[in-house]
Amino acid sequence: MLPGEILFGFIGLVVVITAVGMVISRNAIYSALFLVSNFTTVALLYLILGAPFIAVVQISVYAGSIMVLFLFVIMLLGAERLAAKEKLQGQRLLAVILGVVFLVELGLFGVWKAGYMTTPVPPAAATAGAPEAVGMALFTQYALPFEVTGFILLVATVGAILLTRGDKPASKDLITAVSEKEG
């Protein structure tokens, strides 16, 4: 066994265990923490694959802000524990069986393309995924999609505020106050 394969095996084991733990843990906060460790471990894989910028973004955006938002909502709603009652009998078993069938299908595809699967991923060049290269591509070739994502974030912010604001008459008061001030 090469040291690289041992490292990959360890990381892969941690990724799978944290993913399964996220799905099966009863407490939603534990699920969120499992998912944080999953994201952090996948960031290590990104580092191995020569994508340091993406790895740092993964940790700061996914494991940082998105999961903090999740934990915030879990604690806000007090939804850590829900009743474990199953309404549809046998649905859980069926879901697991279908998942395994899908995994077997993917595995068969891998066997079918075995020659393709065993080609090694070349070791990453030192500057391949550096922030300079990513930034250069983002602001030249992909400038328009970059602007569009900015607009998407703006729309999401407005939408989130609108959805959580509630139907209080506060907005009417604000409008009348402004019109009175102007008039």
Partner: protein
């Protein structure tokens, strides 16, 4: 490191995400399983970016992350709104449209 290792890991992560969506009734956990599937797809993007020696895959991951962040913001806001009216985020309870 053979390409198949990364693809296998990504496939396993994706399937765990699918099973999580199908099995869990807590809408927040369903949402987290979705994030896990996003993560599996991102891993594929980065793997093939390294495999073909191009940066386009990493740019795609950047865009996927941005859109996922927007989606999480809107989705969690929706969940807060649903919890306000129904006092539950159990997906089995959201059956008001059923005749």
């Amino acid at each position: 490191m053979p390409l198949g290792y990364y693809l296998a890991l990504s496939a396993v992560m994706f399937v765990i995400g699918i099973v999580g969506v199908l099995v869990r009734r807590n809408a927040l956990i369903v949402f987290m399983s979705l994030e896990l599937m996003f993560n599996a797809a991102n891993l594929l993007f980065v793997t093939f970016a390294a495999y073909y020696g191009t940066i386009i895959g990493q740019i795609s991951v950047f865009f996927v992350m941005t859109v996922a962040a927007a989606e999480v913001a809107v989705g969690l806001a929706l969940m807060v709104a649903i919890f306000r009216t129904k006092h539950s985020i159990d997906v089995d309870q959201m059956s008001s449209l059923k005749g």
